[in-house]
Symmetry: D2
Subunit: 145 residues, 4 copies
Amino acid sequence: MGVTLEELKKKMADFAKERDWDQFHSPRNLLLALVGEVGELSEVFQWKGEVPRGLPDWEEEEKQHLGEELSDVLLYLIRLSDVCGIDLGKAVLRKLELNALKYPVNLCRGSSKKLKHIHNSTTATATSTSCITNESENGVANNGV
Amino acid sequence: MGVTLEELKKKMADFAKERDWDQFHSPRNLLLALVGEVGELSEVFQWKGEVPRGLPDWEEEEKQHLGEELSDVLLYLIRLSDVCGIDLGKAVLRKLELNALKYPVNLCRGSSKKLKHIHNSTTATATSTSCITNESENGVANNGV
Amino acid sequence: MGVTLEELKKKMADFAKERDWDQFHSPRNLLLALVGEVGELSEVFQWKGEVPRGLPDWEEEEKQHLGEELSDVLLYLIRLSDVCGIDLGKAVLRKLELNALKYPVNLCRGSSKKLKHIHNSTTATATSTSCITNESENGVANNGV
Amino acid sequence: MGVTLEELKKKMADFAKERDWDQFHSPRNLLLALVGEVGELSEVFQWKGEVPRGLPDWEEEEKQHLGEELSDVLLYLIRLSDVCGIDLGKAVLRKLELNALKYPVNLCRGSSKKLKHIHNSTTATATSTSCITNESENGVANNGV
């Protein structure tokens, strides 16, 4: 049940094709549009200070607006992946596996610490683990996906 | 076929729970982590000038790296939606319907124009249409989702 | 006293020229580089929850790192303005004047409210004021520049 | 001559104080507001494809709008630095010196290459150099500040 990334990709491709918008949907155009939507998403949260999970104090209208901004980011992300020829569904399942290797449960439980890691700009260093115990003097937070 | 947003949400929730990371996954923490990943995604494209669809000149390693950055954005987006109590699958299908109303095919075909529209910061102005003909003097591009 | 935007612009231009980097410094390349640096800035804050002004609990090393990320954003912003032919010093002083008109002291004092305002995508609506009293039912926060 | 970062910091601090907005200007609130403005800046460029330096084809109104968005990013960046207790003018001059060490002219001239570098998340690796000759097989672009 539930909507798949494939279905959303198809809907976006059809939407663009019907409007003859493929001419505008270059990778960097879509990337900048995505950044624009992330900006709008940030605006929803910008003057609120910390907000608790579940947004208990938000009005329904605000939550709906938030859902729209989250959706805009998602739609551009899916469209960007598509025009780049990236199979996002396949990529995300692979990334989840890499994350499981990178953040082993036994080393990462409750840890907000991160090893200085070699940041290789063209490929993930998935074979190195990235959590350390709280005994470490390294105070940099980590809880990444 | 294909992975659903629901499945990814579940996987992310389990991943965080196993590592006792729920304590770190507040809405604004996750939002800033998302912004961080969008930054990494942008770095993939930053010195390349315009790149054609399909990324024909990219090496396999670079495409794989791109897939990882796209995935990181997706995973934080899904996690953020979850901790906010937003049903992203439902929201995105609703947003697609709003977009279809906002950008009617007959008015928007091939148009990169956008009406100055009233930007209501708490709810989408879905009932107003946003494309105009090329005769307009308004040169602001539009092809948004 | 203190460093001017003009001086920083000159330093960046010289830096690029000496390294023959003008060829890479197109507007959109620099914009994406800026987004990348904003991502790195966000990472500094991402797992911290709310942090008080003055960052009393941060170690000196972290503050220095923060200063570097803030600087990277500034340098790309100045460089982007330069290659776009925008006089940032002039623009920012004009924007401060527009903000003073847009947010009058007597209407905006202590107010986190914002009128739904007409968002004109090509020019600021500087003549309309944007604050309202707390009696308003509009709960959208505002304290923008 | 020209406006200094110090002057802009003072103007922003006065602006906030007059409106009793200090209560809203926490570090993460301002950071998210900055991200919002970067989103608006990106929207200016999002559907344009590559644009040449100097923006020769842009109308005056568009350039003015661009100047406003660049200014908004600058103002929030300066304000964020201020409330974090970071002396941005001092930090940026130091960063320029670090960059000069990191990207030596003789190694970086015309090079769009970057060494895989150890990314230390709490301090810059300013003593390591980051450019390599074009003979390198590493195709990752670099021209960073």
